[in-house]
């Protein structure tokens, strides 16, 4: 027997969640589909290919205060930021849930990042399967799938006049409303996704490090950093202080390894000064170093970087080029 919630009951449930927690869901803002806090259920977009930005922002913000400096009577106190409200992240696709599971590896490995950990602990993920992958999607080659519930708390699959409800975790089970009923119903098959030749890519990368391929590919890169910002698994960051009207905060913000100066040290020396070396770093981190460190590829195949890149640098092409190059170079 499958569990089921009607469309009407889903709306009631979402209304209740909006009352009790912060509900973040896909919604259109300035013509862009983004994960945003919503106050009206009708603002939620349910039927979409993918959002412009991944929901990593819910856990690792584009800009987030780490602590504030409090000065009183000549004493200095540092007040760390904390997460004080529960959140439901609704509507994310399995690829983005997998992105979060990938980010958990660096952020929650000891020593764990407490702020990220608090965001994660206080957020419940209610996902929707992906029914219309984009032409740039390749999740199945990265170990995921359009209907993969693995990294979600709840998966809601549209069927008949409602949704099939799958509680994946205990946290998901707890949040379900009593309007969930049992019903004999068949889940629709997942859509097909174009594969890329990713098998063994991490090992092949080892052989092509010195290839001129990387600087040739980087020739057209304008280091706009959009690939890193739309990516669900890019996690490089900058830490800075902001002082404003006597208030001092230390802030973490997204940064990209594609920026010139990302590795430049005081005095001017830059160990990664060429664009070719920087672009190579992006693909090596995802396809070689991250697997070496954490045993998983640092890419979910969501295709966002491909759609966003103004000069058509395409990670699928890179993967298949590396396979060809590696075969040519040999072991």
């Amino acid at each position: 027997m499958t569990r089921f919630i009607s469309k009407k009951d889903l709306i009631t449930w979402l209304e209740k969640l909006i009352q009790e927690r912060i509900l973040i869901a896909p919604t259109t803002k300035n013509g862009l589909l983004l994960f945003q806090p919503v106050s009206e259920v009708e603002d939620i977009v349910l039927d979409f290919q993918n959002t412009e930005l991944s929901p990593k922002e819910c856990f690792f913000s584009a800009t987030e205060t780490l602590f504030a400096v409090k000065r009183e009577d000549g004493r200095t106190e540092l007040v760390p930021a904390t997460v004080d409200r529960d959140t439901v992240l609704f509507g994310l696709h399995p690829c983005d849930a997998m992105g979060m599971a990938i980010n958990d590896k660096p952020f929650l490995a000891e020593p764990a990042d407490t702020l990220y950990g608090q965001h994660r602990a206080r957020t419940t993920l209610i996902g929707l399967p992906c029914s219309k992958p984009t032409t740039e999607c390749f999740c199945t080659s990265m170990g995921g799938g359009p209907h993969d519930p693995t990294h979600l708390d709840v998966l809601l699959t549209e069927a008949e006049d409602g949704y099939i409800v799958q509680a994946v975790t205990g946290k998901g089970e707890e949040i379900l409303p009593s309007s969930v009923v049992e019903r004999e119903i068949v889940s629709p098959p997942p859509p097909s996704v174009e594969p890329v030749p990713a098998a063994g890519i991490s090992e092949v990368m080892e052989r092509v490090f010195e290839a001129p391929y990387w600087s040739r590919l980087a020739d057209r890169c304008i280091h706009c950093n959009i690939c890193a910002y739309v990516c669900p698994t890019c996690y490089c960051f900058d830490v800075r202080d902001y002082a404003n009207g006597g208030r001092i905060e230390r802030v973490r913000s997204w940064e990209s390894c594609q920026s010139p100066g990302f590795t430049r040290i005081a005095g001017g020396y830059d160990p990664r000064s060429s664009k070719g070396a920087r672009l190579r770093q992006r693909f090596y981190h995802k396809l070689r170093y991250f697997p070496q460190e954490f045993g998983a590829l640092g890419c979910v195949g969501c295709g966002r970087c491909i759609r966003a890149c103004p000069v058509n640098i395409d990670i699928r092409e890179v993967i298949s080029d590396v396979q060809k190059l590696g075969a040519k170079i040999g072991t």
Binding site: L78, D241, A243
Partner: protein, 282 residues
């Protein structure tokens, strides 16, 4: 999921430290002596670094230049090169800074026991090495020869001149000094030329010697070549690398060299390890 929710456990929260002493060492470098305000010791190892905060300006990685064998304070040498170091140079004794760390692996002290230590310091590279030199002096019987090759651009840039004078007096430390150039009106007893000109002046037993090298990036290729020429094994040539760092804990991404994070796996690497990393470019 392992989640630390204690308020005080934030990885990015510095401890507050008081500046006990601020002392100019040269035109651009100042020595800062600090103590943590909560009364705890830094508990560092020679060759480690801390992230130093000037609240409202920012944070930067600075190597610790004193040995943990000395006392409950610690010392940093800071060259004025930018915003944060400029702000540090304006601070006075009694002022407060933030400290995170210590970070990094430091020098492998236990592997250095009984070894002859060949310190090769280029300019401000003497500062991180000083933490190990002091350690070796304080536990003198645990180590073999202590040899210091110290090169600067000119005599006025020599750091720790008082302490160098004390070291020169000791029969159990051998010091050779060079400057790239010496103004005609300055007295200089050392060599003139780049630091590698000192190598032919010292005789070492390559099997017993570990080289500890810290200096500007350009120095490493030439010093490593000299060490190899002297017959020191690749595994026994230790280099400390300077990189941009924001977190100190191996995830902000700035200090990565291939799959290594200089802030955690380094800053001290053997030449053997670096020569396996395609991106190290020595």
């Amino acid at each position: 999921m392992a989640v630390g929710t204690e308020l005080g456990s934030s990885l990015f929260l510095p401890k507050l430290a008081e500046l006990l002493k601020v002392e100019p060492l040269s035109e651009k470098e100042k020595l800062f002596q600090l103590r943590l305000k909560d009364g705890s010791r830094l508990n560092h190892k020679p060759g480690q670094f801390v992230e130093v905060s000037v609240l409202g300006i920012g944070e930067a990685p600075i190597s610790i230049s004193s040995s943990p064998t000395r006392d409950d304070s610690f010392e940093l040498v800071v060259r004025m090169v930018g915003n944060l170091t400029g702000a540090l140079h304006r601070l006075q004794p009694g002022d407060t800074v933030g400290i995170r760390g210590p970070f990094g692996n430091g020098f492998p002290v236990s592997e250095l026991l009984k070894r002859d230590l060949l310190f090769v310091a280029g300019g401000i590279g003497l500062c991180p090495l000083r933490s190990m030199i002091q350690h070796a002096i304080d536990k003198r019987e645990q180590f073999g020869r202590i040899i210091l090759l110290y090169g600067c651009r000119q005599p006025a840039e020599q750091l720790f001149r008082g302490e160098l004078g004390e070291w020169r007096q000791r029969p159990d430390i051998e010091i050779l000094e060079s400057v790239d150039r010496c103004p005609v009106d300055v007295a200089w007893e050392g060599s003139v030329g780049v630091i590698t000109t000192l190598f032919p002046q010292v005789s070492i037993d390559p099997g017993k010697t570990t080289a500890l090298v810290v200096g500007p990036p350009v120095m490493y290729r030439f010093v490593v070549a000299e060490c190899l020429k002297q017959g020191i094994a690749k595994e026994r040539i230790l280099l400390s690398l300077e990189r941009r760092m924001k977190c100190g804990m191996g995830f902000c991404g700035h200090c990565q060299i291939n799959n290594r994070y200089v802030c955690q796996d380094g800053p001290v690497f053997s030449y053997a390890e670096l020569s396996r990393l395609g991106e190290a470019e020595l």
